[in-house]
Amino acid sequence: MSEPTPPVAAAHPSTAAPANALAAGWRECADGLANWRIAHLDGTAVLRRRYARSRLGQFWLTLSTGISIAALGGVWTLLWKQPAADIFPYIAVSLVLWNFMSSLVTEGANVFVGHAHTLSNQGMAVSTYVYALLYRCVLVLAHDAVIIVVVVALFHGWVGWHMLLFIPAFALTLVSGFCVVYLAGMLCTRYRDMILFTATAMQLLFYITPVLWKRDFLPPEFAWITHANPFAVYLSILRDPLLGHAVPIETWAHAALLCAALLLVTLLAAGKVRRRLIYWV
């Protein structure tokens, strides 16, 4: 027996105790990132399964999203006389992005509870599974992006270099998404009634976020809703570049501030809760 001696350290979290909660939280998130191989395997597991069972795999779900978009766009055009060239791309881009954001929150609620068995048998950074979920949702979004490309190309054509602003917007969304998954996961692990509450809350948020309607449909006295709703802010910076619209600088600032605040809260919470979370799952 002369097999190579492989390292068996990657899944083991750092043992040294960092000075403060912020440093501890940072360490936790860095340890999770170091487990990217585990996150990759876990994140792709659901998609692998879908492709193992059918040739279209994940695209079946993309297809069903595509059908709802076609139906909704049809209703908007025929019933409420919205111009098709305008409303189809709008709904397609909005709905796909909303599905991405909303699945982060609803599945984030279960991110630690769902891995309770693994986490209580393997000493590892719990954020590993936060990355795994984020990764999975990005992969699903990459499938659904086909709808965006087709619909925008069909109804809108080339939208201009403006769309490159989607990249920084997506980067901000990823960081915030990581935070939201982590926070929702922690809260829902400790308080189990929050898992159901999160699902209900996302349903409500869907109606008060401009996904199927536009901001200018709102009477002016209700316009504040779209500013107070963080999902509307992120949806705006993600969607508008893809539709060739400019995003006001205030909206960017708003998103960036939200992201910074979320990151700070998450790192502090992760640092504080790191040593206790496993006793809750």
């Binding site: 027996m1 097999e3 190579p4 001696t5 492989p6 390292p7 068996v8 350290a9 990657a10 899944a11 083991h12 979290p13 043992t15 105790a17 191989r37 585990i38 395997l41 597991a45 692998r48 399964r49 193992a52 068995h117 693994t118 986490l119 209580s120 048998n121 393997q122 000493g123 590892m124 809260l187 400790r190 308080y191 189990r192 009634d193 929050m194 509450f197 790191r274 040593r275 496993i278 006793y279 809750w280």
Partner: protein, 256 residues
């Protein structure tokens, strides 16, 4: 060099009632002015003021009745439970085998799972793929390695898991219940492989319901009782004390 230092380690599990698991209850409890909030959380003391130092060459058997804290201690050493009190310092690459199938995907094939499980244990993908043929060969599962693991019998799954686990070379090896896989022939080969694994590891910590296994593989023993160390020393000695106390407890008349 590998090292395990436990300093006054205490572990307590909060046992939440459904009410204390509810955020609504926590908030309304607050509003009502500290309404019996503490009464909802019962803590179970799993380990108490446990100190222990293990160095290269130490093979520790954990003994004690059910609920004495053996598995909890294994999980503290494995880094699953950060101690609530005291400190645990673990130096060295560690592999904990409390569940051998962790990281496997029941929908994937045996070959894929060899890689997945190896990666879960800390290998890189390249290393895992390089190691896969020899692991696959050891399982003797042949063509079954090409089909999804969910179709395996319990024994086959255990073989697969066992083959991967014993291909890893950790400094510190943590085992909950010795693995006895499959048919007699495989068990014989398996034992040889386990022996190699344990010889290579610098520190071994294990539990077992079979005292002979513990005395043959370990040189030290820690006797746990209600989460506290009752005795620590050479395995033969501690085991004799433990067996004696168990027998005494069985033959003694019930206390009046």
């Amino acid at each position: 060099m590998a090292r395990i230092v436990l300093d006054q380690v205490g572990v307590e599990f909060p046992v939440y009632s459904p009410r204390s698991r509810s955020l609504r209850a926590a908030i309304t409890g607050r509003l009502g002015g500290q309404l019996t909030r503490q009464e909802n959380v019962v803590t179970v003391r799993a380990l108490h003021q446990l100190s222990l130092t293990l160095e290269d060459g130490d093979r520790l058997a954990l003994i004690g009745s059910n609920g004495a804290g053996k598995t909890t201690l294994l999980r503290v050493i494995a880094g699953v439970y950060p101690p609530v009190h005291g400190e645990a310092r673990i130096e060295g690459r560690l592999a904990a085998f409390t569940d051998l199938t962790l990281g496997m995907d029941m929908e994937a094939t045996g070959w894929d799972n060899i890689v997945y499980r190896s990666v879960f244990l800390g290998l890189h993908f390249g290393e895992a793929r390089a190691l896969a043929p020899s692991i696959g060969e050891f399982t003797e599962l042949g063509e079954y390695l090409d089909v999804p693991v969910r179709t395996y019998s319990q024994g086959m799954l255990l073989r697969l898991a066992f083959a991967v686990a014993t291909a890893i070379h950790p400094d510190i090896l943590v085992m909950d219940e010795m693995i006895a896989a499959g048919d007699a022939y495989f068990t014989e080969r398996a034992m040889a492989r386990v022996n190699q694994l344990m010889e290579r590891s610098k520190i071994l910590v294990m539990t077992s319901h079979y005292n002979e296994i513990l005395t043959s593989y370990c040189n030290k023993a820690l006797w746990l009782e209600q989460g506290q160390a009752r005795a620590f020393g050479p395995v033969q000695e501690i085991m004799a004390q433990y067996v004696q106390s168990r027998q005494a407890a069985q033959t003694a008349p019930a206390p009046q």
